[in-house]
């Protein structure tokens, strides 16, 4: 059974007014338990609308979201539980820290879920560990942390709810290259350990190429592609038409091929490109 299923999802803002705008139209897909899905699309393509529909922050105008096989709006009063199960990390989540200490901030979610103090404590510590926050930072005010630490504290707050599906909306935006690499490996590590489902929204094709099993491409509120990472990045022309691009390293391999070098172009990382070229030279 898929963990998330979107069926004919449509969202119209301001329906019946002169500001009516279709943000999402007839989107269908299924995500399997344990998948790491990259979500890409130009600004305004419907990515944020889509993820907000998936965890019940928005209610679809038409269509249904199934979480673990159950329509999330079947019992509107229980929509809060959906938000615990499909945990959402917003863009620039560090602006949402508000508690007196980092510990309390991370504990906010688990507490609202009604967990015991012991369990909450366990959750906070393990979440902090996943994102690499040092223990002594837990008792500081969130406002005394550096930008990167704040970001990680905010992500820990969602991880602490132990969601079945973790949705991250551009978690690396604004971080420097090392901060980005570290956060990406922490997310990967978390995914490997917990084996839960992750939906990762990003504008960085290099990041998406590195970590996704499959990629969902949105364009003008519609699903354009949903396929394996390699298959999606094999469609360079199609992606460029909708304001996206392929990773530089993939482009290099395609350019080599065009110039008559018979290399594999299904390349997503520098490591793969390096090995492919060494292999080619060896034969």
């Amino acid at each position: 059974m898929s963990v998330i299923k979107a069926q004919n999802l449509t969202l119209v803002y301001g329906k019946g007014t002169s500001f009516q705008k279709t943000a999402l139209s007839n989107v269908n897909f299924e995500i399997e338990q344990g998948e790491f899905v990259g979500l890409i699309g130009h600004t305004g393509s419907g990515k944020s609308t889509l993820v907000q529909l998936l965890n019940g922050l928005l209610k679809p105008t038409e269509g249904t979201v199934y979480l673990n096989g159950k329509n999330i709006w079947e019992e509107p009063k229980k929509i809060r539980e959906v938000r615990f199960k499909a945990g959402m990390v917003f863009q620039y989540p560090e602006y949402q820290l508000f508690e007196e200490t980092v510990y309390k901030d991370i504990a906010y979610g688990p507490k609202n879920m009604g967990l015991s103090e012991d369990e909450t404590d366990k959750r906070v510590r393990s979440a902090a560990e996943f994102v690499g926050l040092k223990r002594e930072l837990l008792y500081k005010s969130p406002f005394d942390l550096s930008g990167g630490e704040k970001r990680r504290a905010a992500i820990a707050g969602v991880i602490a709810m132990d969601p079945d599906v973790l949705i991250l909306d551009e978690p690396t935006a604004g971080l420097d290259p090392l901060g980005r690499d570290v956060l990406l490996s922490q997310i990967q590590n978390y995914h490997k350990t917990r084996k839960n489902t992750i939906i990762f929204v990003s504008h960085s094709m290099e990041d998406i190429a590195r970590i996704s099993d499959r990629i969902l491409v949105m364009n003008h509120g519609e699903k354009l592609l949903f396929d394996t990472t390699q298959n999606v990045f094999a469609k360079a022309e199609e992606l460029e038409k909708v304001g996206l691009r392929i990773p530089q390293i993939t482009k290099i391999m395609r350019m080599l091929k065009k110039r008559g070098i018979n290399v594999n172009t299904n390349i997503l990382t520098i490591e793969q490109a390096f090995n492919e070229i060494i292999n080619y030279l060896g034969t």
Partner: protein
């Protein structure tokens, strides 16, 4: 060539009270000259001091010790503050924080209005500025409805309508999708190449830094590396040590060179990379 900006032995720390005397300097002895018409990229990890330095170029921050001169005017000269801000315009990371009006052309006119320019001339400047950034046809639109890249270009138009001699851009593309990033960077290049505006670009994207005439790399408030993109990006080890990236094309060639292949010391983009690879793959 004439120096447009001169940074002489600048030290800077936040706060002026006695208590803060122990705090470390955010800028720790910076010397830098920027010529008129030059395109300089400043790179460095978060907290390296690059944004703080940028805010010294138009008197938002003043050096704790040392001096910054803009076209010969000391930025500490209170009476010339208006002149300095007219000469050096600043574009920030988040386009949404820079929009003040409900219609694009009004937004672009805002800066000029504050300079007390005659309405007829303002109109001319606004239209020229919108043409320069490729947003003229959107002049009657609401900025809210634009994409990130378009908003950022409107913000840039607002700056160039004031006819500055220099534009400082502090991570202008950090929040944009690939196409938006491309739009903003081509606009910046055009302003530099065609209108001769001096450009100082602060960025985490090395693909953008390679387009500059000169790259300045900061770490802990000091300039630790400076030169043409070719010179700077040949120092792959040093860049990595300081938490910076190199473009994927540069990294691939660097790794292959490490295995003893006869390749040029630095390539900066995919075309150069493919040309270099063809030399060894064709054999």
């Amino acid at each position: 060539m004439k120096n447009f900006i001169e940074v002489r032995n600048v030290f800077f720390k936040y706060g002026e009270s006695e208590e803060s005397s122990e705090e470390k300097y955010v800028l720790d002895g910076i010397n830098l000259n920027i010529h008129k018409g030059e395109f300089v990229a400043a790179v460095g990890h978060n907290g390296s001091g690059k944004s703080t330095l940028a805010k010294h170029f138009n008197s938002i921050y003043l050096p704790t010790t040392g001096d910054v001169y803009v076209d010969g005017i000391n930025t500490k000269d209170d009476e010339r503050l208006f002149d300095i801000r007219k000469k050096v315009g600043l574009v920030l990371q988040n386009p949404d924080n820079q929009i003040v009006a409900g219609i694009v052309e009004d937004d672009v006119a805002f800066g000029c209005e504050n300079l007390g320019i005659a309405p007829r001339e303002i109109r001319e400047r606004v239209y020229n500025a919108l043409e320069a950034v490729g947003m003229y046809e959107y002049r009657k639109h609401s900025p809210e409805k634009l994409s990130g890249g378009q908003k950022q270009r409107v913000a840039i138009a607002g700056i160039i309508a004031m006819e500055p001699e220099c534009i400082v851009l502090d991570e202008p593309t950090a929040m944009l999708d690939p196409q938006g990033r491309q739009e903003v960077i081509s606009t910046v290049m055009k302003l530099n190449r065609e209108l001769g505006i001096t450009v100082i670009l602060i960025t985490h994207y090395m693909e953008e830094a390679v387009l500059a005439d000169r790259v300045v790399m900061l770490n802990s408030g000091k300039i630790i590396l400076e030169g043409t993109p070719k010179e700077v990006f040949s120092q792959v080890e040093l860049l990595k040590k300081h938490r910076l990236d190199v473009p994927q094309a540069t990294e691939l060639i660097y790794q292959l060179r490490g295995c003893g292949y006869d390749l040029p010391p630095t390539v900066l983009n995919e075309e150069e990379c493919v040309d270099a690879l063809m030399q060894i793959l064709k054999k």
